[in-house]
Symmetry: C2
Subunit: 128 residues, 2 copies
């Protein structure tokens, strides 16, 4: 075990395994990452997000936004005008998450060919 992992392990508390999983599962689900990226560009209202994120349904946009809001990554401002409208944006906490997430996205790009080729040869050699 190297230094980096050792330091990480020294900070472990009970429940951190669940914390890691909940955080990774959040950005690993189908829409959260896309929503965070869109809102990082600029704050947007519900319908804008619906238009800008291809193929997302109203239900999943709502569900995803609520989960992100629950963790404090995204905030919602409801305007009581008529017709009523609401605006979403990333919080300060959400902004801090962007750096490590972009790092993973860059990792995926850097190793794009390698990953895809690995999958291909694995599937070939395991085809029945």
């Amino acid at each position: 075990m190297d230094q980096q992992l050792r330091e990480l392990k020294n900070r472990f508390q009970p429940g951190d395994k669940e914390l890691f999983h909940s955080v990774l599962a959040r950005i690993g689900d189908k829409w959260s990452l896309m929503v965070i990226i869109m809102l990082s560009k600029k704050s947007q209202r519900y319908t804008e997000l619906l238009d800008n994120i291809p193929a997302i349904s109203r239900r999943m946009l709502t569900v995803t936004l609520r989960q992100l809001e629950r963790d404090g990554l995204v905030h919602r401002i409801v305007h009581a005008d008529l017709p009523p409208w609401s605006e979403y944006g990333v919080t300060d906490l959400g902004l801090t998450l962007r750096e490590p997430v972009v790092a993973i996205a860059e990792w995926a790009l850097d190793h794009r060919e390698e990953i895809l080729s690995n999958r291909e040869s694995f599937d070939d050699s395991h085809a029945d």
Copy 2:
């Protein structure tokens, strides 16, 4: 949109959205991260992993290992001795993934209290 995101976007290719998702979904699932962490410490055989990862079932260990192997993050060496045994370890590619993943884990630890408190107050204010 800031510089970091712009550079990332310039490198987009068709299919990258799916690539991001497949990579994030992999480390965001229930067991992959734990398996990668265990194998980063040292190469281990199947039964060792089974013992070292609390509550994982044989089936899910096998499934998880196969998926990681498919992406080329983990390699398997099968020894044909009697009784036969196999050994798993992280590949060079898997090692490069560790840095950004540890970054996210550290983010989760750094903002542990904030996240948990956000969830609590959100749940309180939405309790019916």
